[in-house]
């Protein structure tokens, strides 16, 4: 008998999120119709409390619960990103749910559970745990995507995501089963040890690595596993789209890095070229198709595919520098993309009206403040110097060059130039086209303002003073 030692501090943020999620759900029937938004603030407080509890967690580094759960700098940094994503998403959705008359506080519970799932994925040292976290995240996201139950597009979005997501979960499980058959363990460190010995069936291990790679590539939506993304992103409620475009992506990359760089580094010659091709294809497809999208949600969907491609470049570098650049990029991308989706939430009307790029015509003269903030996010997504997007891309391409991935860096730079076209077209619409809408019923309530301030300030901070965060990601990448 070796009973797992219980260490509450090591799982504290996850615990806080789960408990607050349950409290929000249980409190819902006792709260009057008018006060339901207060539960949103409760959920927001929950994410802040979880962020504070990262401190005791960070003081309990090491492996816990029979080596299933690992606490290291990498984990703490990613948890910080996840909690930030959850906090901004809650702020964006409060007003949205009121406007769409969907004020069911279960939304916040699902969001908190999904975030708890992401924290589990980042802290797992064991494939079974990764799978549990992945499923918690996925199931909660399927439901949130279909949250507008009376809307056919939202139903389509949830169903497509659910069916394809189940397939990818099955791939992941097959991968786990095969790796267990080949090495006799599902623990990442034990797998790495087993692979260093020579008696392993290398083809079986490669097959399982391929299956796990496919499943995770689906979750982070990189080409050629990206086909579901535009429809799912378009149909889901806008704040949920924002969440899906950053949360599951960051969590998926967290697992990709952890699994492949901890468990499979000894067979890198077998998966390295696959990552190379995925990265190149994703950057090209995402950026080129985004150019012709009239709907801003679809445009941002393809843009999110393209950004996953840049993170994949950092993955292909398979160096500490690459991991550090990827972590920095995930934080920068989360902030600017959530900001962009918060703006889409503000401009769009009930039931997803006004979500075309041309609907932004004249925003610059009618609402100069909003237009300036949206311009900041678009410039940052495009990667203009002085913004978070530029710093992130710079670190990634530097890591790629250091690992001698010259062609990937070239493809990255060329596709970045292409991306200027569609990001700047939004700015052109806002400042150089005549308004055909007064934007008079655009309401900007406190929570949305708060969300915009956090993401805009973060985008500028990471763009102008990236060194402190970069130092943090550098320590986080060392293992």
């Amino acid at each position: 008998m070796n009973l797992a030692t219980i260490n509450i501090a090591a799982i504290l943020p996850t615990l806080v999120l789960s408990v607050v999620g349950i409290v929000v759900m249980v409190a819902e029937p006792f709260v009057g119709e008018q006060k339901k938004s207060n539960l949103g603030w409760l959920a927001f407080a929950g994410t802040l409390a979880a962020m504070l509890s990262l401190v005791p967690m960070a003081n309990n580094r090491g492996q816990w619960y029979s080596n299933l759960w690992i606490v290291d700098d990498y984990d703490v940094f990613l948890d910080f990103i996840f909690l930030l994503i959850a906090a901004i998403t809650i702020l964006t959705s409060m007003d949205f749910l009121r406007r769409e008359e969907l004020n069911h506080p279960e939304f916040y519970s699902l969001l908190l559970f999904a975030t708890a799932g992401m924290l589990m994925m980042a802290a797992s040292n064991e494939l079974v745990m990764v799978f549990l976290g992945l499923e918690i995240l996925s199931i909660a996201t399927y439901v949130m995507a279909g949250f507008r139950r009376a809307d056919l597009k939202s139903n389509e979005s949830a169903l497509k995501y659910f069916l394809l997501g189940s397939f990818s979960s099955a791939f992941f499980l097959y991968g786990i089963a095969l790796i267990f058959g080949a090495t006799g363990s599902t623990n990442l460190l034990a797998i790495a040890d087993a692979l260093r010995s020579s008696k392993i069936q290398i083809s079986l291990v490669s097959l399982s690595a391929a299956l796990i790679l496919i499943a995770l590539c689906f979750k982070v939506a990189v080409a050629p596993f990206h086909v579901w993304t535009p429809d799912v992103y378009e149909g889901a409620p806008t704040p949920v789209t924002g969440f899906m475009s950053v949360g599951p992506k960051a969590a998926g990359f967290a697992v990709l890095f952890r699994v492949f760089l901890t468990a499979f580094p000894s067979i890198e010659d077998r998966w390295g070229s696959a990552i190379w091709m995925v990265a190149a294809l994703t950057m090209i497809l995402g950026n080129v198709i985004a150019v012709v999208q009239p709907n801003i949600k679809r445009m941002l969907a393809y843009s999110s595919i393209a950004h996953a491609g840049y993170v994949a470049v950092a993955f292909a570098a398979t160096s500490d520098r690459g991991v550090s650049a990827a972590l920095f990029y995930l934080l920068a991308y989360s902030l600017m993309n959530l900001g962009a989706f918060a703006m889409v939430t503000i401009i769009s009307r009930k039931e997803d009206k006004l979500v075309n790029v041309t609907d932004y015509a004249g925003l610059g003269s009618k609402r100069p403040g909003l237009a300036a903030v949206l311009s900041l996010f678009m410039l940052s997504l495009a990667g203009v110097p002085g913004t978070a997007g530029f710093a992130g891309k710079f670190f990634i391409f530097r890591a790629a060059l250091e690992s001698r991935l010259v062609w990937l860096a070239i493809i990255g730079v060329v596709t970045t130039v292409i991306s200027f076209y569609y990001y700047l077209s939004v700015i052109v619409q806002m400042y150089m086209r005549e308004p055909h809408d007064e934007f008079s019923d655009v309401r900007l309530c406190g929570s949305l303002k708060f969300a915009l301030v956090i993401s805009a300030a973060g985008t500028l901070y990471l763009g102008l003073l990236p060194t402190r965060v970069l130092d943090w990601t550098t320590t986080a990448a060392l293992r």
Partner: protein, 174 residues
């Protein structure tokens, strides 16, 4: 020897009733044969000394999923579906493509048989340690305590999700 006979018997039952599941016109018969398949697979697990998996197979698949199927059949019109044409007009093309696929996979397995050797079969040590179910239980409550607890959150999320999607619509949503 007896084990081998049992294994092939259960295997034959599973395959034959599996074919009958998809060829019967009456869905109730299909459901019954599906039950037979599932029981036969549980039997195969038993011959492989995996009592726990066999038990789970019966409880989850026969007790849960099959009953769900029967409930759905109860809710739809069975009489009409008996007389309806089955959706298998293109069965010749399907047969040819599946045959090609089978040949392809078989050839691949044949060519790669040297590299895909599984580790030698370990004789079941579970019996010595007090049996399969006991071992699973011990593992779940000791070293796998945390995932065991986390699975409860997974179930909770699934329940909340199902309730959110199916509860009565508010007037605003109509």
């Amino acid at each position: 020897m007896l084990e081998l006979i049992l294994f092939y018997t259960f295997g034959a039952i599973a395959v034959i009733s599996g074919i009958l599941v998809i060829t019967r016109h009456n869905v109730v018969h299909s459901a019954a044969f599906l039950g037979a398949t599932l029981f036969a697979v549980a039997g195969i697990f038993l011959t492989l000394h995996a009592e726990f998996v066999a038990g789970v197979q019966v409880i989850v698949y026969v007790g849960g999923i099959l009953v769900l199927f029967v409930f759905v059949i109860m809710l739809i019109a069975v009489e009409r579906s008996v007389h309806e044409r089955q959706y298998n007009k293109q069965w010749t093309i399907a047969l040819i493509t599946s045959a090609i696929l089978i040949v392809e996979i078989a050839y691949g397995l044949y060519r790669g048989r040297d590299s895909l050797v599984l580790p030698a079969v370990v004789p079941p040590a579970a019996a010595a340690a007090g049996g399969n179910s006991e071992q699973v239980g011990t593992a779940l409550y000791t070293s796998y305590l945390l995932p065991f607890e986390i699975a409860s959150i997974l179930l909770l999320v699934a329940i909340v999700g199902a309730v959110v999607l199916s509860k009565k619509r508010t007037p605003a949503e109509e």
